[in-house]
């Protein structure tokens, strides 16, 4: 099973990279973009077929290392 983890800065924490990309899009005349947030994606290949176990394991990984929960949120997607 594969786990896709998306990590991004929490709402309310200024995302300087997102802001810079937003500026760049505006100067390329993509005027219909109102906000940009830049995050990162971590793809994990897991040796399990148990979804409940997988979610529990990956949540622990996120809390301990993959995300810094002081400033970041994470979302986990499991793919069979």
């Amino acid at each position: 099973m594969k786990a896709i983890v998306n990590v991004s800065l929490k709402a309310g924490v200024l995302d300087s990279q997102g802001k810079a990309v937003h500026h760049a899009l505006n100067s390329l005349h993509f005027k219909n973009v109102s906000d940009v947030r830049v995050g990162k994606q971590i793809i994990l290949q897991l040796d399990t077929t148990d979804e409940v176990q997988a979610r529990e394991d990956v949540t622990k990984m996120c809390e301990e290392i993959l995300a810094n929960t002081v400033i970041e949120d994470y979302e986990i997607e499991l793919v069979k």
Partner: protein, 224 residues
């Protein structure tokens, strides 16, 4: 006085730090991150600057799981004095020995230059040789120095005199190079035994090289 200095793969300020403390008369020892203990006679533990683990994932994130960090956390929790400089500050926040986190600089550039700092609180061993509101000049060199803490955390920092240094101009007015909350450059924990700052006092030891304002900072630890 014995200063132990941590070295991770990618640390690059350990020898400057060693030189600085030895110039002040301290004994030093560099401790490789694989060590599961720190020297017993340690009076001060320094997490030196650099790019531990290439800053992969987040600055300081992987270093916090190095074997030596268990001993560091135990040492700090038992009241041992710990100083994190630059990447060391990032490691200490990741290890939750200090509150908050360090984000990418607001304007996304790596900043490397001398910067003025204002002493906000000196009721701690690190800054006791400096006066409150004194302006000192210390080099900064970082990409992820944008200090973040939420509003409640910030209130706690002020309530306990944990804000130590802010970035300023030569008159002490706010001059914020990296977007840090309230222009914060250095903090300590509530117990005032764990200190973290982005500027490099070990690089400000000789007037001939631009500034010797780091001497008084590091001396604070030696008299303790």
């Amino acid at each position: 006085m014995k200063v132990s200095i941590l070295q991770f793969p990618g640390t690059n300020c350990e020898y400057d730090t060693q030189h600085a403390f030895e110039a002040l008369g301290a004994k030093t020892e560099i401790v490789w991150h694989k060590s599961e203990s720190i020297p017993e006679d340690t009076n001060l533990l320094v997490v030196a600057g650099g790019f531990s683990y290439g800053d992969y994932l987040r600055s300081g994130a992987i270093a916090k799981f190095s074997p030596v960090m268990k001993a560091v956390i135990e040492y700090a929790n038992n009241g041992g004095k710990v100083l994190g400089i630059c990447n060391g500050f990032q490691v200490l926040t990741e290890a939750r020995l200090l509150p908050g986190a360090l984000k990418r600089n607001e304007h996304l550039h790596f900043i490397s230059k001398h910067h003025n700092l204002k002493v906000v609180n000196n009721d701690n061993i690190f800054l006791e040789k400096l006066s409150k509101d004194e302006i000192i000049n210390i080099p900064i060199a970082h990409h992820d120095g944008n200090y973040y803490i939420d509003q409640d955390g910030l209130k706690d920092l002020y309530a306990n005199n944990q804000v130590l240094l802010t970035y300023s101009d030569e008159n002490g007015d706010v001059l914020n190079p990296n977007g840090s909350v309230d222009s914060i450059a250095g903090i300590c924990n509530k117990e005032k035994n764990v200190f973290g700052l982005m500027p490099h006092p070990e690089r400000a030891m000789e007037a001939l090289l631009g500034s010797d304002d780091g001497v008084k900072m590091l001396q604070g630890f030696l008299s303790a």
